[in-house]
């Protein structure tokens, strides 16, 4: 299906169009990351409707738009977003591969200090894997860590 020309259309309206017209895509990819030495590993799960939008193209804004809004929100005098138009007016992203979509999602939803320095230190702070590679039960969930063997 061809994506309508959405530049200038409110992002929420684009997402509603996608929900009506695209089948969700359950990705097998998972992003495992550690953002604190005191906490267990966290696991990012892509949303199936979001993944469908990423693969379709012409719907999602570039990821830098989210960074700009996050910068605004981090200001001490922030009350409300005044640059929401960036979500709606910026040229949407073209179709991505599933791997590109995961990279985009990392930069959107994982803390920047994790993905910007994921490979510094004694072992990786972040790993992209398939869900089948995760432990198959939730036993000892709060002790899960990225394996030291990945440091090689």
């Amino acid at each position: 299906m061809q994506t309508p020309s959405f530049k200038g259309t409110h992002l929420f309206d684009r997402l509603c169009w996608a929900k009506e017209n695209l089948d969700g895509v359950q990705s097998d990819y998972r992003v495992v990351y550690e953002d604190s030495i005191d906490e267990c590993a966290k696991i990012l799960v892509p949303d199936p409707n979001w993944m469908a939008c990423a693969l379709q193209g012409g719907i999602l804004p570039p990821v830098w738009v989210y960074w700009e809004l996050a910068k605004d929100e981090a200001q001490p005098d922030f009350k409300k977003h005044t640059r929401g138009y960036l979500l709606h007016q910026t040229e949407p992203m073209p179709a991505m591969t599933e791997e590109e979509a995961i990279e985009y999602l990392i930069q959107k939803d994982v803390p920047q200090h994790v993905w910007q320095n994921w490979d510094s230190g004694n072992k990786p702070k972040m790993v992209i894997c398939k869900k089948q590679q995760l432990p198959q039960t939730r036993e000892w969930r709060n002790s899960w860590r990225i394996s030291d063997e990945l440091a090689a």
Binding site: L11, C16, V45, N49, W50, H81
Partner: protein, 135 residues
Amino acid sequence: MAGKIVADTLEHSTAGSIATNYVVEGSAKALIDFDGAASTTVDKSLNISGLVDNSTGNFTISLSSSFDSADYYFIAGTAGSEGAAINAATLFGQFDNSARTSSQIQCESWLTNTGNARTPYYLDNCDAVWFGDLA
């Protein structure tokens, strides 16, 4: 988009009228239905980009189209089958208000036993709805 209707008021023949801003502002802006047990998957959603499994029963949900601030309505609930199996109530709701932004919210699911002790727990049917003004 094609098929656009611009109107400030909707009027019914007998039941009266309503300003359309109540319709627009009063409709849900995001939805999620996910399985927080087993492999953690999103079953149904609108306006969600991803779900982070932080620890036992603790999740961060991210939105695609952000709200205009962190001042939005968030309503969550669960019908986790685990509670009935072990004779406990199940809860799912916001966890940490300091982690709440215009595009992310941290939630937790719990079991509550008859002594009101609350234990984070994976529940298999967590639902949430957001209302408010988008950016």
